[in-house]
């Protein structure tokens, strides 16, 4: 039985491992996630929590030495996890696009920017590169707030980080995908440029109506851009709710800890840290992976992994503290 909870994307019990010389890294440990058309979802968490691996899994880009060992990803009515590479090509870049943290590394250094966009448009629309495609390139560059006459003939190294990210956004949205995955799109940029890029992304997505998964470690970026947020810790989704609920009424002890650690302007209380350190995913803790750092840890937390349960309408938490409420809700 495949659970269907969102009308765009459903990820069920996804497990991904990486085989390394140090041992098997259990990167994703049964991730559950779903979203509806046109939604903006933020995935937040610290280094190594599995944000990017989740994104790569959706794109079908988990390659050796990594492997999806369990679970499935349903995109609309298509089961991505059982698709062959040949048919994935028809989804990647057309129905699901992705932009990355390092836009300059994602562009081909020896080809002009205009040609690269033209190439992607011609692939998506099945047209030969010609006048028509270049007209589209111009339109996309303009939409992205770039001076097309200048930009079209530049090479990627001639672009600043902000310009390159604009080009990437133009390219990713040229197919008007149902889902755009943005993996730390502004983390390498200065704060004023970050604000400009987020504004641009906000405008375009509003116009086109794409669903967006924004992966970030910056709680501020998620707060400004996303309707919903999923908090990840050590390969698990630990809390999933509307953005306002995550910030104003966080439930999972990790989410609470994370919010208390974020410096923000005008904050008068002392920052609080989460005791302990992020576990090594070659040898993750038993049961709930957060239990060694959790001051509420109970016996059951050391033994079993808590499932993600709905504790309030549209507010999901994977923690035994709220287990009973979750069961009640599921039965009623």
């Amino acid at each position: 039985m495949k659970k269907v909870r969102g009308n765009l994307l459903n990820i069920n019990k996804l497990k991904v491992v990486f085989y390394t010389y140090r041992g098997i890294i259990k990167a994703l440990n049964g991730v559950e996630l779903w979203m509806n058309k046109g939604e903006r979802l933020g995935i937040v968490g610290e280094t190594g929590c599995g944000k990017s691996v989740t994104a790569l899994s959706i794109m079908g880009l988990i390659e050796q030495p990594g492997e999806i060992i369990e679970g499935d990803i349903l995109f609309g009515d298509k089961l991505l996890t059982s698709m062959k590479e040949a048919s994935l090509i028809n989804i990647r870049g057309k129905e699901i696009s992705m932009i990355f943290q390092e836009p300059n590394a994602a562009l081909n250094p020896v080809m002009k920017v205009g040609f690269q966009i033209a190439e992607s448009i011609s692939k998506v629309k099945n047209k030969k590169i010609g006048k028509e495609v270049y007209a589209e390139v111009r339109r996309m560059l303009e939409i992205a707030g770039l001076d097309w006459e200048r930009t079209i003939n530049l090479y990627p190294h001639e672009l600043s980080g902000g310009m390159a990210q604009r080009v990437m956004i133009a390219m990713a949205l040229s197919s008007n995908p149902k889902l755009l995955i943005a993996d730390e799109p502004t983390s390498a940029l200065d704060v004023t440029i970050q604000a400009q890029i987020l504004e641009l992304l906000d405008e375009l997505v509003k116009k086109l109506g794409n669903a967006v998964i924004l992966i970030t470690h910056n709680m501020g970026v998620a707060a400004e851009f996303c309707d919903k947020m999923a908090v990840m810790y050590a390969g698990n989704m630990v809390e999933y709710a509307r953005t306002t609920n995550i910030f104003e009424n966080p439930h999972h002890p990790y989410t609470r800890g994370l919010l208390k650690a974020v410096p923000k302007i005008g904050r008068t209380d002392e920052l609080q840290s989460i005791r302990g350190i992020v576990p090594d995913l070659v040898n993750p803790p038993s049961g709930c992976r957060f239990h060694p750092r959790c001051k509420h840890a109970m016996d059951i937390c050391r033994k079993d992994f808590p499932p993600l349960v709905e504790i309030k309408p549209d507010h999901y938490v994977a923690c035994y503290l709220y287990w009973k409420e979750g069961i009640k809700n599921a039965n009623s």
Binding site: Q194, F247, G257, V262, G266, R267
Partner: protein, 334 residues
């Protein structure tokens, strides 16, 4: 030196006057050399036992300032005083005494520690150079300082790669503190760390400052971190200070448009604060050919003719609050 000792009472630990550092870049065989004006005529004081924050975007020169004050980079002109000693005029031998008192912790905890040295030697090396100590004494001091920064004796016999980012940053801090410095340059010390680790390290800096009565120059691009750490601050843009004053004054009433727009640009971890905001226009110009007149004019939404033609002087608009702008933002009612 005598003069320095005599004026321990002086209010400012560090005074920087008209500091300039240009880096020459080769343009080709026949064209004349061009310069990156990384630090262009900067003046500020750091009061003893305070935290002075420098904030700016890439290319603003904030890292160059930190390194120039320590004379890790030689300035092309200007004066740097440590208490009353002008350290720009000291020779290498004389400088050594000050090297002990002024230490630096840099951004990248992965590249700033020697990969083939044991932690014991990384931290002990400075002791060997500056103090005439036996190896037992060095051992004891290293052990004690590791405890101060939250590590244990057993960590002395490990190599840097065996530690996490946060732990490495603690080692860097231990290496600096073991020499009993008075002044620390913290150059983006938490930028490479996750937020929960950052919180621990920032708190540690606060505790250590109290314990060792330290003075910090805290360099960062993150205004929220400045708000948490600093007493005084300077906002830099393309090698110049745009606004300088006490942190409270600048955050409560920013007077330079750049400061205001920088504050506007920060994404707030508070979903109810979503609103349309005025942002700086366009991109940061190259520091090789900074704009004429006011350096910020190309991005300033409030720009007027005068800003293009004339470079504004930095002026004191209220006590201790200086702004380099022809048309500073005034608070309503003042």
């Amino acid at each position: 030196m005598q003069t320095a000792e005599a004026k321990v009472e002086a209010k400012n630990l560090i005074s920087v006057e008209h500091l300039k550092k240009y880096f020459a870049i080769k343009q080709g065989l026949f064209s004349s050399a061009k310069y990156v004006k990384a630090v262009d005529d900067i003046t500020f004081d750091i009061p003893k036992n305070s935290v002075f924050g420098i904030v700016g975007e890439s290319g603003s020169g904030k890292t160059t300032i930190g390194r120039t004050i320590l004379r890790l980079i030689e300035p092309i002109s200007g004066v740097i005083r440590y208490l009353s000693t002008d350290i720009t005029s000291l020779n290498k031998r004389e400088l050594r005494i000050f090297r002990r008192k002024m230490q630096i912790v840099s951004q990248d905890p992965y590249n700033s520690l020697h990969p083939r040295k044991l932690v014991k030697n990384i931290i002990g090396e400075g002791l060997q150079i500056h103090f005439n100590l036996s190896s037992e004494e060095i051992y004891k001091k290293v052990r004690d300082i590791l405890e101060q920064v939250g590590l244990r004796e057993e960590h002395m016999f490990r190599y840097p790669h065996e530690f996490s980012g946060g732990q490495r940053q603690r080692i860097s801090v231990a290496r600096a503190l073991v020499l009993k410095p008075e002044f620390l340059v913290l150059d983006e010390p938490t930028s490479a760390l996750d937020v929960s680790v950052q919180a621990v390290i920032l708190k540690m800096f606060k505790d250590l400052k109290r314990e060792f009565s330290l003075t910090y120059l805290f360099i960062t691009h993150d205004l929220a971190v400045i708000d948490y750490m600093a007493d005084y601050m300077a906002v830099m843009y393309l090698g110049q200070i745009m606004e300088i004053g006490s942190k409270d004054d600048i955050f409560s009433s920013p007077m330079h448009p750049y400061t205001l727009l920088l504050l506007n640009s920060i994404p707030q971890p508070d979903p109810r604060k979503k609103k349309k905001k005025v942002l700086p226009i366009g991109e940061i110009p190259s520091p090789i050919d900074p704009p004429q007149g006011c350096r910020f004019h190309t991005r300033c939404p409030y720009m007027k003719d005068k800003c293009v033609k004339e470079e504004p002087e930095i002026r004191e608009l209220s006590k201790g609050h200086l702004v380099k702008c022809h048309f500073p933002i005034r608070l309503i009612g003042t």
